[in-house]
């Protein structure tokens, strides 16, 4: 027998996952603004898939229109496969939200109904609605699951298929249209037509459709071959107070994982460390390996440096480590770019610096794409290519001219100043870092932006030189003057 696990209204269930929504809801295709699936409450209000968002709103203003949640769909699919694999090694991921397990190796004494009920209950505890179909062929199992409430076990295939609507067979759009035009609504009606006549008119697809509703045709499953994943996990059943037990475990994980990597002739290019915490949250960190390796010591040192200064807000309840692998040759190309003698050591050094200076205090500065002064980001040294604005994003009128003049040394934060103005220009300056009469000045330079929301800003800047030759940048925001920085002192 075959058993099909099916999550009805799969995209809706995925979108609703982790949400607490009561009342009418629908999942909407963003591009077309068409309803894909609706829940029972919405259906009761006359809202059906295929309507547009505004049409649904017209029927009921309180309907929740949710966008598709593809990441959550992915998780749900994984969950289904996972559960099915607990029943049989031969599992097919038939469609999004549907898997079929081949149970012919299962014990003959098994009660299908009971098994299915257990599964349904298991999913219900995860707030998911599951339908289960059991039948003698994979296709019938799927059909049974589609119509199940919530469990359907098919003992007599022909009696089961006759009242099914043909749409349950998911024919192609074209075939569905033709069948509709023929007035063929149920599988039984389809089966009553002369088979050769149908195939002559509808082609190979019809042949396939007809085979699927026969109880005798048992197609082979396209079983899933698990993709190798270099991951280890452990859940604590005791309280962990220090980092020592974590490090102890991590070393064991790494020993195992690197051995597997070496067997496969691969190296780790990235580690993902994830620590589930007491409150259900998790601490997660990804480490790029500057020079990909399968060396336990190198990988261990990275984790060690991280844990050395790590302060967790909650007690850890588990530990997960995943290595992302790569072929050795490809990633060593990084060496050509790198004049670093020991990239992995340097990675550790940077981690140490960050540990006591802060994450955004060490790295490569990238000026932000804005006219607003003192806006920049600090990128991790090893991922500095990301985040740089493409050169062509600068406008025609604002292609950054070759930099001229002295670079500013900025005061962070900028100290307030008193500025005496004469004939519209700064004449004297008093502040904690500089005081004196202004002998030269340039400006004003005006800058403003983000006018479209409350964060709008407006600045007037002046460059001044004092009697002693020191040079400063002053700025006025409203009536407030500050010394932004110093060019020369």
């Amino acid at each position: 027998m075959f058993l099909c696990l099916l999550l009805p209204d799969f995209r809706l269930q995925a979108a609703l996952r982790w949400r607490e929504i009561t009342g009418p809801a629908a999942v909407v295709d963003d591009r077309a603004d068409l309803l894909l699936e609706v829940n029972a409450a919405a259906r009761a209000l006359g809202i059906t898939p295929g309507q547009t968002g505004p049409q649904a709103m017209a029927r009921n203003g309180r309907i929740h229109l949710l966008p598709r949640a593809e990441a959550q769909e992915h998780c749900l699919n994984n969950l289904l496969v996972d559960r099915a694999m607990g029943l049989s090694p031969d599992v097919e991921h038939t469609a999004p939200g549907a898997v079929i397990a081949d149970l012919h190796r299962a014990a003959k004494t098994l009660c299908w109904q009971q098994l299915a009920d257990t599964l349904v209950a298991q999913f219900r505890s995860d707030a998911l609605t599951l339908q289960v179909g059991v039948a003698s062929t994979p296709d019938l199992a799927l059909l049974a699951a589609r119509g199940a409430d919530p469990v359907a076990v098919v003992y007599d295939p022909s009696a089961f298929v006759a009242p099914l609507p043909v749409s349950a067979l998911e024919p192609s759009e074209a075939v569905q249209q033709i069948l509709a035009a023929w007035g063929v609504g149920t599988v039984g009606e389809l089966l009553r037509l002369p088979r050769s006549g149908v195939v002559e008119r509808l082609g190979a697809e019809a042949d396939d459709l007809l085979r699927r509703v026969s109880g005798r045709h048992r197609r082979p499953l396209r079983t899933i071959r698990q993709r190798p994943e270099y991951a280890e996990a452990f859940d604590f059943d005791y309280e962990v107070e220090t980092s020592a037990p974590l490090l102890f475990l991590l070393r064991r994980f790494l020993n195992d994982l690197t051995a597997r990597l070496r067997e496969a002739g691969r190296v780790a290019r990235q580690m993902v460390l994830s620590i589930p915490l007491d409150d259900g949250s998790r601490h997660e960190r990804t480490f790029a390996i500057p020079s990909p390796t399968a060396d336990v010591e190198v990988l261990y040192r990275i984790l060690d440096t991280h844990l050395e200064t790590l302060q967790l807000p909650q007690r850890p309840t588990g530990l997960r480590l995943r290595l992302e692998d790569a072929l050795p040759a490809k990633d060593q190309l990084q060496l050509f770019e790198s004049a670093l003698r020991d990239p992995n050591l340097f990675g550790e050094t940077l981690a140490r610096l960050k540990a006591f200076l802060g994450n955004d205090a060490v790295g490569v500065p990238i000026p932000a794409d804005t006219h607003e002064p003192d806006r920049f980001t600090v990128k991790d040294f090893f991922s500095r290519e990301e985040g740089r604005p493409p050169a062509d994003s600068l406008s025609e009128s604002d292609r950054k001219p070759a930099l001229r003049g002295l670079p500013l040394r900025r005061c962070r934060p900028a100290p307030p100043a008193r500025v005496v103005i004469q004939r519209g220009r700064p004449f004297g300056l008093a502040s904690e870092i500089a005081t004196g009469a202004v002998t030269c000045c340039a400006g004003p330079y005006r800058l403003s932006g983000t006018w479209w929301d409350p964060r709008g800003w407006e600045i007037e800047e002046w460059d001044v030189q004092l009697e002693d030759g020191a040079m400063f940048r002053l700025a006025r925001r409203g009536r407030r003057w500050t010394v932004e920085g110093c060019y020369e002192a």
Binding site: A339, R341, L353, L357, A361, R410
Partner: protein, 236 residues
């Protein structure tokens, strides 16, 4: 577990190959780093394996950084800037130069010195610039003299260039000290970087040691030299 040493061996071989094919990426083993700025290169370049104190005006100090970053872009190496007062302004530097910079932002001197220590010990970056120019005087006072001695010890057998930018002579017993300034800073506000580097005025004081600068023919051994290398090459 024999794979690891093997891999190390392969790595070394690969590096040798890289050094041969791409000479500019190989660490330069000569005693001096040439910046391409004439005023700084007058004595053959910046000292490797030793500490150089750069004191003088703020603008002059900035130009030393500018010279180093130009060289870093040209020769594909990285410069670490340990920014003692978190004063570096990324917006005033070209993108290709920022790409060659490791910016270490510090809010107080102690942290800056510790960061410098860590980076020196790491030894991966060939040029370190510890910027103390904007640091308040009272913090400078508190730097123990032993710090510089320790730094010196760490790098003396390496090729690392360590520059300490200070507002006034501060590093006791420094083997090399350069005073830099820009002749007319107000005019400099519209000049190009190239112009500014050409106009940079530098004066170098060095305590010569033969084993320290083997190729430096100009530096007589055994006594302190006072070599004023002024005169900008462009129009003064």
């Amino acid at each position: 577990m024999s794979a690891v040493p093997d891999k190390r061996g392969q790595l070394a071989a690969l590096r040798a190959l890289v050094a041969e094919k791409f000479p500019q990426t190989a660490p330069v083993r000569s005693g001096r780093l040439r910046t391409g700025c004439e005023a700084l290169d007058r004595r053959g370049g910046l000292l490797r394996g030793g500490l150089t104190e750069v004191c003088g005006s703020l603008a002059g100090g900035q130009m030393v950084l500018a010279a180093l970053l130009e060289a870093a872009v040209r020769e594909a190496f990285w410069v670490a800037l340990i920014d003692g007062a978190d004063a570096f302004e990324p917006a005033d530097w070209p993108g290709d130069q920022l790409d060659r910079l490791l910016w270490v932002r510090c809010r107080e001197t102690g942290a800056a010195l510790k960061a410098a220590d860590i980076l020196l010990r790491d030894g991966n970056l060939p040029v370190l610039l510890l910027d103390l120019q904007m640091v308040p005087e009272r913090q400078l006072h508190r730097i123990p003299a032993s710090t510089w001695h320790r730094f010196h010890r760490v790098i003396e057998n390496s090729a690392t260039v360590l520059l300490v930018l200070t507002p006034r002579p501060l590093v006791e017993g420094t083997p090399s000290r350069i005073a830099v300034k820009i002749p007319s800073p107000w005019k400099a506000m519209t000049a190009s970087r190239r112009q500014l580097l050409d106009e940079l005025v530098a004066q170098a004081f060095e305590r010569g040691r033969e084993d320290f600068f083997p190729e430096d023919r100009e530096a007589p051994a055994g006594r302190e030299t006072r070599t004023p290398c002024v005169v900008p090459s462009g129009a003064a």
